[in-house]
């Protein structure tokens, strides 16, 4: 029996400060997730904003009983992945040019951007699984909860994802 989330309890009880605490508690990690998937500051900010708006609106509609039992963290990850997925789809439709990647607060391209670029070339499920496993450092059980995929599937996706990334990065090294 998983422990209930104190913020879920507070939301169900009508604590007026609970929604803000929820957003503050998860903003950084969801941003990290969105950025790992999108590699662009503004798209990532927009994605996290949209994810929170969707989440808050849904929480407003749900009954107190339903909210009380929710695993909010995993649920927020799922919503974020959906938003990211829709943004990627939309971007593909309007064929937006690749935006140059700059990590805010740093002087320019960091070494890890090569890894993120390689991550960005993975198929979506592999990308999400690898991002959650290493960029977010989540254990497999939580990744499974955050994606709705079973643990073995997640492990397979991570293994394949890493394999593909290795190929991409080896090729880049050869070229360089």
């Amino acid at each position: 029996m998983p422990k209930t989330d104190p913020i879920a309890e507070r939301l169900a009880d009508g604590d007026p400060l609970a929604p803000r605490d929820l957003v503050e508690r998860h903003y950084a990690e969801l941003y990290r997730y969105a950025f790992a998937m999108l590699r662009d500051v503004h798209s990532s900010e927009d994605a996290v904003h949209d994810a929170f708006v969707n989440a808050l609106e849904a929480l407003g509609r749900y009954s107190a009983e339903r909210v009380r039992g929710m695993s909010l963290r995993a649920w927020l990850y799922r919503i974020t992945l959906n938003v990211v997925r829709n943004r990627v789809k939309k971007n593909r439709e309007v064929a937006v040019e690749e935006v140059p990647v700059v990590v805010e607060g740093s002087g320019g391209r960091e070494g890890f951007m090569d890894a993120l670029d390689a991550l960005g070339r993975l198929p979506e499920r592999q990308r999400a699984a690898v991002a959650l496993r290493y960029v977010l450092d989540l254990p497999y059980a939580e990744i499974s909860e955050a994606t709705g995929w079973n643990e073995n599937t997640v492990k397979t996706l991570v293994r394949r994802g890493l394999g593909n990334m290795r190929t991409f990065m080896d090729i880049e090294e050869e070229k360089g």
Binding site: R20, Y27, R32, A64, V103, L136
Partner: protein, 259 residues
């Protein structure tokens, strides 16, 4: 060629995880998520005591006299409107404006009527225009809202008014001139109206006033009616009685001849 190991990639991704930090505008982004995903509330003084007022994107959605607890208020709002509500950080002058409106000053406040039927919306708009110090009967509101026979429906719209005082449902009285209901506390309606200078007892005796100098009959609180000299005042309990006596309805306050 040195092959990159899985461990090396994992380490780079972990490094990325630490390197990705939300921009410096972290706080405004949190505020924007909350502002777009939830409504906000604040407390304001009013003639009914302290009230909690909820503002959404399109204006005021709800106002209620001080609830038992903030938690109860948040739960009730969620059940009624299906939205979360958080304490307002910045209302852009809205809270001052609403406090002024609650105090009875003449300020335009945007009210969010989404979720209301067109009829309910028209009724709320008609009632919004009844000036301070004046009252109108339910039947008049029905007529003005384009549904002359819907007097009772007007009553139920008033009973469910989510924004009391801001839409002044206390200024709508029964067709016979008595004040009628107001939530759980009809006395409150009397006190509110007296505060606004409405001669409540007088109107209960005679809701219509006419003068032979012009041959016009008004609602007793119409500003034209209040200028009638005492010696010329003719009072009526109903409009048919006034019409029978040869008076025609005032064009400003438009009393309903059949009422």
């Amino acid at each position: 060629m040195n092959e990159i190991s899985d461990e090396r990639i994992a380490a780079m991704l972990r490094e990325a995880g630490e390197g990705i930090v939300a921009g410096k505008d972290f706080v405004p982004l949190i505020e924007r998520s909350l502002a777009d995903g939830a409504d906000s509330f604040f407390a304001a003084d009013s003639p009914l005591g302290t009230m909690y007022v909820v503002v959404g994107e399109r204006g005021v959605r709800y106002a209620t006299p001080l609830p038992a607890s903030e938690e109860e208020f948040v739960r009730h709002y969620g059940e009624t409107f299906g939205r979360l509500v958080v304490p307002a950080e910045e209302t852009g002058g809205m809270s001052e404006k609403i406090s002024a409106a609650l105090a009875g000053e003449k300020v335009e406040v945007a009210v969010d009527f989404s979720g209301k039927t067109p009829f309910q919306r028209r009724v709320m708009e008609v009632v919004s225009k009844i000036p301070r110090g004046e009252v109108r009967p339910y039947s008049w509101v029905a007529e003005e809202a384009g549904a002359p026979r819907a007097s009772r429906a007007v009553g139920s719209v008033m009973a469910k008014n989510p924004v009391p005082l801001i839409v002044p449902c206390h200024r709508v009285i029964r067709n016979d001139g008595t004040t009628g209901n107001y939530g759980f506390d009809p006395e409150r309606k009397v006190r509110l109206l007296e505060r606004e200078g409405v001669p409540v007892a007088e109107i209960a005796r005679a809701p219509y006033v006419a003068t032979p100098t012009t041959g016009i009959v008004c609602h007793a609180t119409c500003h034209n009616a209040r200028r009638i000299k005492p010696e010329n005042r003719r009072t009526f309990r109903s409009m048919p009685a006034a019409v029978d006596a040869g008076f025609r309805p005032c064009k400003v306050c438009r009393p309903v001849a059949a009422a």
